[in-house]
Point group: C2
Chain length 427, copies 2
Amino acid sequence: MTIAQDVRADDVDAIVRRIGEAAREAGDAVASASTQQRNRALRAAAAEIRRRAPDILTANAEDVADAKARGTKGAFIDRLVLTADRIEAMAAGLEDIARLPDPLGQVMAEWDRPNGLRIARVRVPLGVIGIIYESRPNVTADAAGLCLKAGNAAVLRGGSESFRSSGAIADCLTAGLVAADLPAAAVQRLPTRDRAAVGAMLRLSDCIDVIVPRGGRSLIERVAAESRIPVLKHLDGNCHVYLHSAADPQKAVSIAVNSKMRRTGICGAAETLLVDAAAAPGLLPPVLGALADAGCEVRGDAATQALDRRILPATEADWGTEYLDAVIAVRQVEGLDEAVAHIGRYGSHHTESIVTEDDAAAEAFLARVDSGIVLHNASTQFADGGEFGMGAEIGISTGKLHARGPVGAEQLTSYKYVVRGNGQVRP
Amino acid sequence: MTIAQDVRADDVDAIVRRIGEAAREAGDAVASASTQQRNRALRAAAAEIRRRAPDILTANAEDVADAKARGTKGAFIDRLVLTADRIEAMAAGLEDIARLPDPLGQVMAEWDRPNGLRIARVRVPLGVIGIIYESRPNVTADAAGLCLKAGNAAVLRGGSESFRSSGAIADCLTAGLVAADLPAAAVQRLPTRDRAAVGAMLRLSDCIDVIVPRGGRSLIERVAAESRIPVLKHLDGNCHVYLHSAADPQKAVSIAVNSKMRRTGICGAAETLLVDAAAAPGLLPPVLGALADAGCEVRGDAATQALDRRILPATEADWGTEYLDAVIAVRQVEGLDEAVAHIGRYGSHHTESIVTEDDAAAEAFLARVDSGIVLHNASTQFADGGEFGMGAEIGISTGKLHARGPVGAEQLTSYKYVVRGNGQVRP
């Protein structure tokens, strides 16, 4: 990506504005490109990622060395490191996105008016999407790929620690666009590590239509506070599993353990287990045993501690905590009303599951819990665009506007009304 | 509406917070109320408006007298004044909203996964909607009615000039809620004229889910700049009619005149007429004559002035102006590409119409113009929720996120994913 010669290299506002303006113009081109052309760009980008894998690994090794030299720790380094497998997964992911149905041009609804007007609501791109993310460099490919699929231009701002890695990946996307005769500026990465660039991006409301932050709470909160552009929020996943009194004991064990322990670091991981008090003496011990066997620390309320002395006490703070670790809080409740109230008070509107053989209780839970995803007799770890059949996702929205739950290509679109007449005027 | 005794009457932040918290709680109740119960509240509110019409007129007369005493002018007073007809229209409007299909619970999409999970995307309320509007007191009934239909609570802040009128109308909505056994706090009006209340409302992001401003550009811009809550924007309607070279001459006249002159003060009124230069000598004179006969001032580019010496010159500023008056700007263009480019540069993404008998040209225009509403051979004045068959609208969104074009009850909803399993865990 080259910045015009008349912009000084240290003038971050001007650099970001140039990128935004180029994105706006490129967005018009990808919006009107055919399905085939956009998919060709995605497949060409995948091929470039495979071809340039050695360059990407070299760039990544430099990023990792720098991070280690600064004393950065384990989980962070793990997110930053690319391997041959991770690079292949990026390429395959872009090919998966190319195979998805094209959301653009879909007629979402169509009807006739008594005066003969025919009205259609048709899916169109959002325009320019700004993505601000942290250390995982592979977000570069996933996010840009989804934006392009939906006919949008993308402006990417990765974490400064993954600056070289993200740049090497973004170059592959650019090459894919060029190979498909689309403007390179449809995917741009901010060419500076300067943190001021994030602020400049968040003020660019005439060039960027929506901001998608991906990262920890502090990033999301900074973006939400500073942005003059609408934000698709992806906040905490403080997810709950509720074992209703009519739960099947085996499902209770497998769903609780999988929801918590399959992967503890993802937003769909369960953090609190609620159990009907009347059924707890029967239901809970095998669940607690299985969690302990899986290496999970359990923090319980007094009633739960009474079942097993090794359980640590849960405090008020535990109900609101997203551990993202092998820790679970357990609370006994007096039935469905109390479970729903607990989730409403402490939850983050992300994903909650009820385990029960009582269909009426399940339907009440599914209707009353106000979360993006509500499940009956299934693990909260299904909170994932791929598992939903969306092919890929840019995140899980915990906001209520525009998109809720997994945000895939379809959720990165808007619509317009197309009205066909034969001379109608309004009386 | 009563405020708790422990809140000081001049503590605007505390007053607004109490209202927000009550709205959040009441929102849960209307969200889970049945279709019949919400419709009963709407019909009871309509009956109260008819019953209390004399009180509403008295309150309104006081508002109007105050406004006149402050030297307020014609159009403003016209928007403020209520008449028996306008009051009846409010009541009838609420009954219309009651007759609309219930958007809640609609299954927007449903599919099965290979692992047996059944996933449904189901329409749910947004939650609490804050509406900030200017002088028209009847917005109180329309906006609250649409919010309630969609299972939302409403927090209303009307213009200070219509304070008494809006209060009298809001009381009818409250009475309707109570008659249907729903919490009165599901429709609340801020009980203060203090402008600081608007700022307090815009900061209440934990209680209010979305802000809908209705009013002039300065209101919308203030709200967009200050709000910590997502805003559904309803900006200018700088709408265009494009007379393509293959336009039917009679449709050209009737659509241009109706788009401009039926009502000049609404956002769907056309402000600029674009004409293919090659066809202008034949097409344009009858259009200009009909506009002049209707009392419209025409400002044209040089080529248009050459057709009729009485035409005033249009300047660059005219292309970007929303006159909301009997004035139109006319520009000749070299074909569809230039028309689309002009609209992209000067338009406000609201509503644009092409007049042509050439279907390929029409489809190109409908696809390429990036506006919420695009029409072929029909008047721009159809930009209206009622004309679209939505029953009523809270405004026309010019933003691309969440809702675009007319915002009716369906657009005041969100969705959630309901996932039904039989014990599935994620591998």
